[in-house]
């Protein structure tokens, strides 16, 4: 049994999510190979070769693989798929985009967002916004899976010494092309991988008020998150959204400020180790999952909290 993990990267740096996915692959058991599809991505392949638990790295390098277009990357995965029993992607925007395309081309079902491995063909995954956990068995010859990265501890990026094998890149599908990308620059830790997350909701009242979370996040070394209500109201950018339809996080500490705690929001953060809620409404559902709740006006409590830290 050999397992293929598709690397997440930006052609220069291997993303941490790949190491969580390798950890899930190790739980299935068998040799783990990593596929790096990109352009000028030798450095990424070298990093992947050093990751603990990886026995081989495949590098496919072509200009049309640079931007991770689903059509081209899926064709590349398909070119090597016959050698593998399992094909794993991180459950990120990129993994979710490509994995189902690969599964359909192989005529197999895909299992999304696995949170536990029970055996080589049986996996657990959340359904209904995390309100139920389904145990699912696949009878397909190849298992195509996406892995919820917060459910598996990342393997070390050091200690491995896998060989890098260069593949002939699959042809350009020519169906789509990359136009541009706007990525928000931030000095804060990445939301999905942060140890501490400070999130704000509609209770903040405005984009200006949302900035009052910044000193708190700085003191805690935290990433900033937001509820859907705050994002829709324009207080915070889209990619800060935590929830069923946004990012799924599971930090050591999650601080929810001015967030009522709708089902869809809880789906994205209820596996956090410690949850703190600050809300003036004592009846807010967020207090149902909070380890420590403070019923208070956030405009007084947040500055006071910054002061005491």
């Amino acid at each position: 049994m050999t397992i293929l993990v598709i690397a997440e990267h930006d052609n220069a740096q291997l993303k941490g999510a790949t190491l969580n996915t390798v950890a899930a692959a190790q739980k299935i058991g068998g040799d783990v190979h990593i596929l790096v599809a990109g352009s000028g991505a030798q450095a990424v392949a070298d990093q992947a070769a050093k990751a603990a638990g990886v026995s081989k790295v495949l590098l496919a390098d072509a200009p049309y693989l640079a931007e991770g277009l689903a059509e081209n990357v899926a064709d590349q995965v398909l070119a090597v798929a016959k050698d593998y029993s399992h094909i794993l992607f991180a459950s990120t925007a990129s993994g979710k985009n490509i994995a189902p395309r690969v599964a359909a081309l192989l005529d197999v079902a895909q299992i999304s967002d696995i949170i536990a491995v029970e055996s080589a063909d049986t996996f657990q995954r959340p359904i209904y916004a995390g309100n139920a956990i389904a145990t699912v068995q696949s009878a397909d010859a190849v298992k195509v899976l996406t892995v919820r990265t917060t459910a598996f501890d990342a393997l070390s990026a050091e200690g491995g010494s896998a060989a890098v094998e260069t593949l002939t890149a699959a042809a350009d599908a020519g169906l789509s092309s990359f136009v541009g990308r706007e990525v928000a620059k931030s000095d804060r830790p990445e939301l999905a991988g942060a140890a501490v997350v400070v999130s704000g909701g509609r209770g903040l009242g405005s984009a200006e008020n949302f900035k009052m979370l910044e000193p708190l996040a700085d003191k805690l070394g935290a990433a900033l998150g937001a509820s859907r209500a705050a994002v829709d109201a324009g207080y915070a950018p889209n990619d800060w959204q935590v929830g069923q339809t946004g990012k799924i996080v599971a930090p050591q500490l999650y601080v929810a400020i001015g967030i009522s705690g709708a089902i869809q929001h809880l789906a994205g953060m209820k596996d956090s180790k410690v949850i703190v809620a600050i809300n003036k409404d004592a009846e807010a559902p967020i207090f149902g999952v909070a380890d420590y709740g403070l019923v208070a006006d956030l405009f007084q409590a947040v500055p006071e909290l910054v002061e005491l830290l």
């Binding site: 395309r101 359909a104 956990i133 699912v136 696949s138 136009v179 500490l253 909290l305």
Partner: protein
Amino acid sequence: MKVLVPVKRVVDYNVKVRVKSDQTGVDIANVKMSMNPFDEIAVEEATRLKEKGVATEVIAVSCGVAQSQETLRTAMAIGADRAALIQTDVELQPLAVAKLLKAIVDKEQPQLVILGKQAIDDDANQTGQMLAALLGWSQATFASKVEVSGDTATVTREIDGGLETLSLKLPAIITTDLRLNEPRYVTLPNIMKAKKKQLDVFTPEDLGVDVTPRLKTLKVAEPPARSAGIVVPDVATLVEKLKNEAKVI
């Protein structure tokens, strides 16, 4: 050009579902059902393309039980011109739905298929991508902006860390993200008009598609409950607890 919009009937997003005590699934008897929220956004986008003169006809499609007709009527009240139901009581998984939709696409020859990015019941986020694969078409998932001109669609997508823009050759598949648009409310006159619109019913056998589930659900369980928390009286106590009890700061 024709636009096809698949829609799914799901448990309403405000309902907190309960797991059945025999762990065979969640209890959806007597629970309010609605159109999947992402699909409403898809129907709205198709309707706007028609209002702009880009689309000539919008066809809504649903796969599932007979009651899915209600969901299709809602789609037609928003703006779809006609609808098709592929009726079956078999539990449909995304690959089966993608194959059924491919059969409809082969029949109707649309230039664009707009789907929701995921259904809020199975949370799979697969059907659009699978349909694109089966058809050999281009795809743009998690769209927050769509512009169609000539034989290309320019789509802005929500990705981790920001936005990216792709140019797709038509025919193409687009899946909607939350911020693509704000679906309109359906008005009473439009609900009445929707009742008169054409709704064709097929079966998977009519379309020659095998919909046998490929994945077996062994068990559906409650997620582990969190232990009850405490309410602290003031910020000082909160900081003290986080430092000394939870030891997270």
